[in-house]
């Protein structure tokens, strides 16, 4: 069985449309990100408390919100889990969860009777700073590692194309998170690094074929050659991401709340990673070549 037989699309020719599409989404997302400020981040990056509460009976979110508002504990958020309206995640400022539990007890009845606390966490501002720092270092280190590896295996221009494509993927996912009003936490950083490591796979497979075709044909009509290489590898580009998406989709749909954001990032990131491998990474190398022609050594 074969999904696509001998494809012949002009991918590189569509690069300007792709550039515009990507820029619009990323810029729009970044604007929303800037406007949301602290709300973009989960408790591990700004410090604060989180409670996972399950009630015996279903309760409306608005009711909980109204009750907690009486406490004057600054900003907080209440999120419903599942469809029954019994389980909630309450995020609030540092050292406020005890007050919240007290309030829930006076309002709805004692803990253990009316509700149970399934999980809780609290992160002090000083811890959140070091978590942020660590995430930042992890990220920079990952990018440098990948950049060096591709430079060694291919050529510097290819490495730059691949790295810019990774940046594109990461920014795109962050933009989508901002646009869908989701919060960035430690699991998102893990997802972003995974996307960086995985989305470069498709790019490498295409570059590998470009390298092979340059060797074989000795042609310097790079525009045609790049297009041909992308088309030749198209079926495996799609198939490899497809099998991975099967798994990620199931993690997203039935993996439970804890994995939800993580799987969401991977879902968006892997699709965008494939898109950028086809439309962005090679296109950057071609544009660079048009600007400053260069004969690729292979």
């Amino acid at each position: 069985m074969e999904i696509i037989k001998s494809p012949n699309f002009n991918f590189i020719g569509k690069k300007n449309i792709a550039y515009i599409f990507s820029c619009v989404v990323i810029i729009w997302g970044m604007v929303v990100l800037a406007m949301r400020g602290k709300d973009n981040f989960g408790v591990d990056f700004v410090g604060g408390d989180m409670l996972n509460v399950e009630f015996k009976q279903s309760i409306s979110v608005n009711d909980i919100r109204a009750r907690l508002k009486e406490l004057n504990i600054g900003s907080f958020s209440v999120q419903v889990l599942g469809t029954e309206g019994k389980e909630f995640i309450i995020k609030s400022g540092p050292n406020t969860s005890e007050k919240i539990v007290e309030k829930l007890e006076t309002t709805y009845g004692p803990e253990g009777d009316a509700f149970s606390i399934k999980g809780k966490s609290s992160v002090s501002p000083s811890m959140s700073i070091s978590l942020r720092k660590k995430a930042f270092y992890a990220f920079i280190l990952g990018m440098i590692g990948i950049l060096i590896y591709i430079t060694v295996r291919f050529e510097f221009r290819f490495a730059v194309g691949a790295t810019l494509a990774i940046f594109h993927d990461i920014l795109f996912v962050v933009a989508v998170l901002a646009l869908t009003r989701k919060q960035i936490d430690a699991s998102v950083i893990a997802a972003l690094l995974t996307i960086a490591g995985y989305s470069v796979n498709d790019t490498v497979i295409i570059f590998d074929r470009i390298r092979e075709n340059i060797r074989k044909t000795r042609s310097d009509d790079y525009f045609t050659l790049f297009n041909k290489s992308i088309n030749e590898t198209l079926s495996r580009t799609i198939l490899t991401v497809l099998t991975t998406l099967f798994v990620v989709l199931l993690l997203f749909l039935i993996g439970g709340e804890t994995l939800h954001i993580f799987a969401f990032c991977l879902l968006v990131g892997f699709v965008i990673g494939t898109y950028s491998s086809v439309f962005i990474a090679s296109a950057i190398v071609i544009d660079w070549h048009r600007w400053k022609p260069h004969k690729f050594k292979v």
Binding site: M1, K120, A138, A190
Partner: protein, 439 residues
């Protein structure tokens, strides 16, 4: 020629048997993280204004010893108590039933006492039968059993009222006695020196127990009256034991003030839900991949599926061998490995199709497919490993588990997807004399 394949299959078989042996039974062999079994994860930080790193680091050492002492008393299976950097302590208590109580216990200030040990065997016998004499209490030493869990061992009947407490100690450090064995030196402050002299004078040849938070750590015998406020504890200490005892004494002298800067509590229900949901998602995902491969590549798909199953088995085997912790993101890592494991085979199979189209014989096409796909597979796996390793080394808690499973999975993938499938394909091609292949 055939012999080479027998060796290969023997190797593959050995790997399978070894991994099954390491993994089975999985509930016992694979360590589960807090998020999969419930428990407490806290990070404590020494609050000390001193700029001297050594001072801060010493404070953290003392606090660590105090915390370890208490956690051993709780009898938690496989607790993790470790220092991070100079001033932070990480405590992981998997499966704790009452997390709030555990957190409370960790946060208390250390209490060090010196208590006289009763030397009357009759009194001890009575106490063990349940009649603890007035003014006395029964304490137990704690020792690690073969599974690493602390259990109560030797009983000790001591006077309830302490002779001295930690506040009379000025310093304590490890040293060496005249014959070169490690010993522990205690320096009492002025008030303590006088008290200690009186205690030692009145109780020669009796044992004086050093008790930290209600657990005896050592019970040296008083040999003579000790004036001047300087004492040595000698015995058959190892360097480690002597150092630990010195830290315990210092911890009692000036307990370090700690801030709990990170606290995560996962209730047992949430842990169970996480494990059920995580595994269900991973399993269905894997099944979907397996069916897809069969459907798309027929016999070759079956081969890739076998490689996938082997990949997961090796991943779990290595996890069990390294005593790695499986966390919920770790389960996601395994799931992801399922999705990525077949990627290498897809790259190879697509290449074989291309080679077949150029009119090559099946044997030549397969050889060329494997050979030419190798570079792409290595390149793409290594970039993913770079990300995985960084997450393992820099990640916190559950994210670390993700980095671990992802990295192991990708490395195992090179073996299963390339070596194992190639060996089987070659063997089939040789023994069956296949003229045409459908892929």
């Amino acid at each position: 020629m055939m012999k080479q394949y027998y060796y290969r299959f023997l190797l593959i078989l050995a790997v399978i048997v070894l991994c099954i042996y390491q993994v089975y039974p999985p509930e016992k062999k694979i360590r589960r993280g807090l998020d999969l079994q419930g428990g407490v994860h806290v990070v404590l930080e020494v609050t000390e204004t001193s700029q001297d790193e050594k001072v801060i680091s010493d404070l953290a050492d003392r606090a660590l010893e105090v915390i370890r002492n208490r956690i051993d008393a709780l009898g938690v299976t496989e607790p993790v108590i470790q220092k991070e950097g100079t001033k932070r302590i990480i405590v992981d208590l998997p499966g704790v039933q009452d997390p709030d109580r555990a957190i409370e216990i960790i946060g208390q200030t250390a209490l060090l006492e010196f208590k006289l040990v009763s030397d009357d065997p009759e009194l001890l016998k009575k106490a063990l039968e349940g009649n603890v004499p007035e003014g006395y209490e029964l304490l137990y030493f704690k020792e690690k059993d073969e599974r690493g869990i602390y259990r109560e061992s030797r009983p000790l009947l001591v006077k309830k009222e302490p002779e001295l407490t930690g506040k009379y100690i000025e310093d304590a450090y490890m040293g060496y006695d005249s014959s070169g064995f490690p010993d522990v030196n205690i320096v009492f402050n002025k008030e303590g020196a006088a008290l200690f002299e009186a205690v030692t004078a009145n109780n020669i040849n009796k044992q004086l127990a050093i008790v930290l938070d209600g657990i005896p750590r050592s019970a040296p015998v008083i040999r003579e009256r000790i004036p001047g406020g300087k004492a040595q504890i000698t015995g058959k200490f190892s360097v480690d034991e002597a150092r630990t005892l010195a830290i315990v004494l210092r911890a009692g002298a000036l307990p370090a003030k700690m801030d709990m800067i990170y606290r995560e509590v996962v209730g047992p229900t949430l842990g169970r839900e996480n494990i059920v949901q995580g595994f269900r998602a991973a399993m269905y995902g894997a099944i979907l991949v397996v069916i897809f491969m069969l459907f798309y590549y027929a016999a070759f798909g079956l081969l890739a599926d076998f490689a996938l199953a082997l990949n997961i088995l090796i991943l779990l085997g290595v996890m069990a061998t390294l005593r790695g912790v499986l966390t919920l993101p770790g389960v996601a890592g395994i799931a992801l490995t399922c999705g990525m494991a077949v990627d290498a085979n897809i790259i190879i199979f697509e290449r074989i199709r291309e080679e077949l189209k150029t009119g090559k014989s099946p044997k030549a096409a397969i050889d060329a497919g494997y050979k030419r796909a190798w570079a792409a597979i290595i390149d793409s796996n290594i970039t993913t490993i770079i990300a995985g390793l960084i997450l393992f080394f820099l990640g916190e808690g559950s994210v670390k588990g993700f980095g671990l499973t992802l990295s192991i999975g990708i490395v195992a993938n090179l073996f299963t997807a390339v070596f194992v499938t190639k060996s089987i394909v070659d063997w089939v091609m040789i023994t069956r004399k296949i003229e045409r292949v459908r892929i």
